[in-house]
Amino acid sequence: MGFAGLSLYSQAVLLLAGLIALTSFLMLGQSRLVRLVLVFAIQGILLAATTAVVAGVLDFPHLYISAGLSFLLKGILIPIMLHRMIYRLGLHRELDTIEHPARVMMGGAFLVVFSYYVSLPVVAHSPLVTLNAVAVSLAVVLLGMLLMITRRQAVAHVVGFMSIENGLFFAAVVSTYGMPMVVELGIAADVLVAAVVFGVFFFQIRESIDSLDVDRLSKLSEADKP
């Protein structure tokens, strides 16, 4: 049966998955930090929405909690914090240019295909159509890494890191309807602490190399200098 034949729920989930993937791509192409954070926030909200949908339709009450958590953390708290940071560090005007954007995009597309190819066997073993979203989540993870590799801004790195977390979370939701509560809470706590620590680091890096360009963090090199 075609996509039209699917239940509304599945269609919703898949739609959201698509949107999330889109946000990842947007992030990949985004060169202004402020907008980057904004897109990240949107991704977080989409993630929360997905969780809520799953919770609502399949009626897992504990997923509501995680939905709320992710909404608060990923949708509100962390984006705001990052936003603040960017302004306090005076990076809001700074452009984090990407060399060869076209290639990066191509790479991203390739990653999506690849992750679909990888996740095929996983999907094959279950009737649930929504599982196709696993491919998307994997793609989000890989795109997050790609983002970190292509960007030189520490802030961008943090965003990429967080979007990897999003990908994981999304995978957890669509594939296994969330992790056990203990784990959920633990993860949330970790993410929170991580965010705080990132905040601390921005200033440490700032005061050590008075910029957030990670390429300049290369004192500890062992390759003999030409």
Partner: protein, 704 residues
């Protein structure tokens, strides 16, 4: 019983290390004594005198050596009992891995090597106390020296006792590490540090090779005890792999060419009594390991192995002595000659392997016996020579032959002992070195009995090389003795040298010298005793070694060859004395002292004599291709336009080829590779992220 004695000797060695640790100038006992003396003020008035610091330090110096001597004594007795008694005594200690305790065993083979270990050990412990006195006020504490000496000896004894691969390797490595610390003892000299580093590196690699060799057997046997390993059945390929690994491992320790280059660096660096133990005993432990592995553990032998060993052995022998001839540092020279003698031993082992594998076990036994005998002899005279060199070093602080000369007038007793060592190592009748080489020749001469023509032509060629080696050895040691002890002193401090004062420093060498003469003159009983050793290994005893009685040595049969060193000695003395009597006593013409005639050239000075370099110059020219000599001639000129040459200064240095072809290239390769690899750590975090990213991608792609 014998095992117990052996255990006691190990314990004594360990005790000596503990004792020296405790008795060092900043050791426990020292503090303890001071504390005790000031704690009880009135009682030890008389004790206080008895334990003045001076006496205490003498006590501290001698106790460890006393214990070492005890260890040596027990080792010899245990070895004798095991050798004469025959049979194997085993025990297990509650150490090691949970499913593999330490297995000990003492069979005649180990017993014989216990004797080889014990005699030089006793000599060294006699020699030591006097020798180490000069270190007492140096910056290095004696306790370190004593500690590692004890561990070193204990390690060697444990190697002999070990009956499972695990304990064997532990003891082996203990031996290596302890001796490493001894080589690095005087570490303020960069050369010593370098030597020690190289030594430990080679020891490590060799040990791994041995472990792998054991691993091959263990892989098929499923156990690590020697019984389990003995009973293993191997395909020829695997057996050969194991054999080659073992040969590499043990050969590296024994100093076979081309793996020998560490040896002449390391042995001279250690204090002389340690050098004596290293060159005299430790190399024999390596030989023991090889014999144990090849003849005892491996299920079957192949003649190709024998050929390999024979070739390597001959090469080591001739190259070793050629390099020894060109050395100017006495201890380096002795170390190189150790390479030569190890080469001779392995030549004999190769012959034995060939005969053994071609079904001629009796001749195989003969070769093995020759190898064992030469091991013993080399242990004796090499330790003797090293101790002698140590005595010279201790009295004159002189390494280089170029500055010695005329020592026979300054230290006559030592000169006499050294002469015995020289004659023995030069393989002259009726001393012990000759007996073993004679046996090797006899073994080689039986090659006619072999079917394969290649072998029959190979073996005589090897024996030709051996003949060349022994002739060169004679040349080499004539040079040593003539340059160091005879003629005129070549430097002031040599001219002022004095005979060693400490009695032990003469007692040790004289003990060894006595054994050199004894085994040289009466080898037959000893060789008979070896029967109990060869029986389990080759299944043979030499039937008619003493066919003509204990006075004669007849390896194969009286018709083939006979040699009676005792009668030779008797004859020489008799004839010599007769001439002396007839020519001197009868015409009592007293000889008159006068200036040398010297074809009428007068005015002899020390500088007109042949130096060590000059003596070996013809050999250097003749064997040009072997060496890597760099020679320089400096002219001191003066006069108008520097035309008149007033002086010439000639330097030469002989480099070891092994360095140039084996050691340095591999070192360079490692550094180059390291530089390549260093680029991994470029410092850019995005690169690092890229690494993990691609690792992930690749793995995912691989598994799915």
């Amino acid at each position: 019983m014998a095992l117990l004695l052996a255990g006691i000797s190990v314990l004594a060695a360990l005790l000596s290390s503990v004792a020296s640790l405790a008795a060092g100038p900043n050791g426990l006992a020292w503090h303890g004594m001071l504390w005790w003396m000031q704690k009880t003020p009135f009682r030890p008035v008389q004790r206080g005198e008895r334990l003045t610091p001076g006496r205490f330090s003498r006590l501290a110096r001698t106790t460890p050596f006393l214990l070492l001597g005890v260890s040596g004594g027990f080792a010899v007795t245990a070895g004798m009992i095991a050798l004469l008694g025959g049979g194997t005594r085993t025990a297990t200690l509650p150490f090691g891995l949970p499913w593999l305790n330490w297995h000990l065993a003492l069979d005649p083979l180990a017993g014989f090597f216990f004797c080889i270990l014990g005699i030089p050990l006793i000599a060294a412990s006699l020699f030591g106390p006097g020798y180490v006195r000069e270190f007492e006020h140096g910056k290095h504490t004696l306790s370190v020296l004593g500690l590692f000496t004890g561990l070193f000896v204990a390690g060697m004894e444990l190697v002999l006792l070990a009956d499972d691969a695990f304990l064997f390797m532990i003891a082996w490595e203990l031996m290596s590490v302890a001796s490493y610390f001894l080589v690095a003892y005087q570490h303020e000299h960069a050369t010593n540090r370098r030597a020690a580093f190289l030594y430990l590196l080679m020891a490590e690699i060799g040990a791994i090779a041995i472990i792998l060799a054991f691993g091959v057997l263990a892989g098929f046997a499923g156990g690590l005890t020697f019984e389990a390993l003995r009973s293993v059945a191997l395909t020829p390929l695997w057996a050969s792999i194991a054999f080659v690994l073992a040969l590499a491992g043990f050969g590296m320790k024994a100093g076979l060419v081309p793996l020998h280059a560490w040896l002449p660096e390391a042995h001279p660096a250690a204090p002389s009594h340690i050098s004596a133990l290293m060159s005299g005993v430790m190399l024999k432990i390596a030989v023991y390991g090889f014999i144990r592995f090849a003849f005892d553990l491996l299920p079957s032998l192949f003649w190709q192995w024998g050929v390999l060993v024979l070739l390597i052995g001959s090469a080591s022998a001739v190259l070793g002595i050629l390099y020894a001839l060109q050395q100017q540092n006495l201890k380096r020279l002795l170390a190189y000659s150790s390479v030569e003698n190890i080469g001779i031993i392995f030549t004999a082992l190769g012959l034995s392997l060939i005969f053994q594998s071609s079904g001629n076990s009796q001749l195989g036994t003969l070769g093995l016996v020759a190898a064992l005998l030469h091991s013993l002899n080399h242990a004796l005279f090499k330790s003797l020579l090293f101790l002698g060199a140590g005595a010279i070093l201790h009295q004159t602080h002189e390494h280089s032959l170029e500055n010695m000369g005329g020592l026979i007038h300054r230290m006559p007793k030592l000169a006499a002992l050294f002469l015995i060592g020289t004659l023995s190592i030069a393989a002259l009748p009726p001393f012990n070195g000759f007996v073993s080489e004679w046996l090797i020749f006899q073994t080689a001469l039986q090659a006619g009995g072999i079917q394969s023509g290649i072998l029959r032509s190979l073996i005589p060629t090897a024996s030709a090389v051996l003949a060349l080696t022994s002739a060169l050895a004679a040349t080499c040691f004539v040079k040593v003795y003539g340059v160091a002890f005879l003629g005129l002193p070549r430097s002031r401090h040599i001219a002022r040298a004095r005979e060693v004062r400490h009695p032990g420093m003469l007692a040790g060498p004289s003990l060894l010298a006595a054994f050199c003469v004894l085994f040289g003159v009466l080898p037959t009983p000893l060789i008979n005793a070896l029967g109990s050793l060869t029986q389990p290994l080759t299944g043979f005893v030499l039937p008619n070694i003493s066919a003509l009685g204990w006075l004669w040595l007849t390896p194969v049969s009286p018709e083939v060859a006979a040699y009676s060193p005792a009668l030779v000695l008797l004859g020489t003395v008799a004839v010599g004395w007769l001439c002396y009597y007839l020519l001197y006593r009868r015409t009592g013409l007293e000889p008159r002292r006068a200036e040398p005639w010297d074809c009428g050239f007068g005015g002899l000075t020390a500088r007109t004599q042949y130096t060590s370099g000059a003596f070996s110059m013809p050999i250097r020219r003749i064997f040009e291709p072997v060496f890597d000599t760099c020679e320089t001639v400096e002219e001191q000129t003066e006069g108008p336009a520097n035309t008149r040459v007033t002086g010439l200064r000639y330097h030469f240095q002989v480099l070891d080829r092994a360095w140039l072809v084996l050691y340095e290239p591999s070192g360079r390769a490692v550094t180059r590779l390291a530089r390549r690899v260093g680029r991994l750590q470029a410092g850019n975090i995005r690169t690092y992220l890229g690494y993990s990213f691609f690792t992930l991608i690749v793995l995912l792609w691989v598994v799915s």
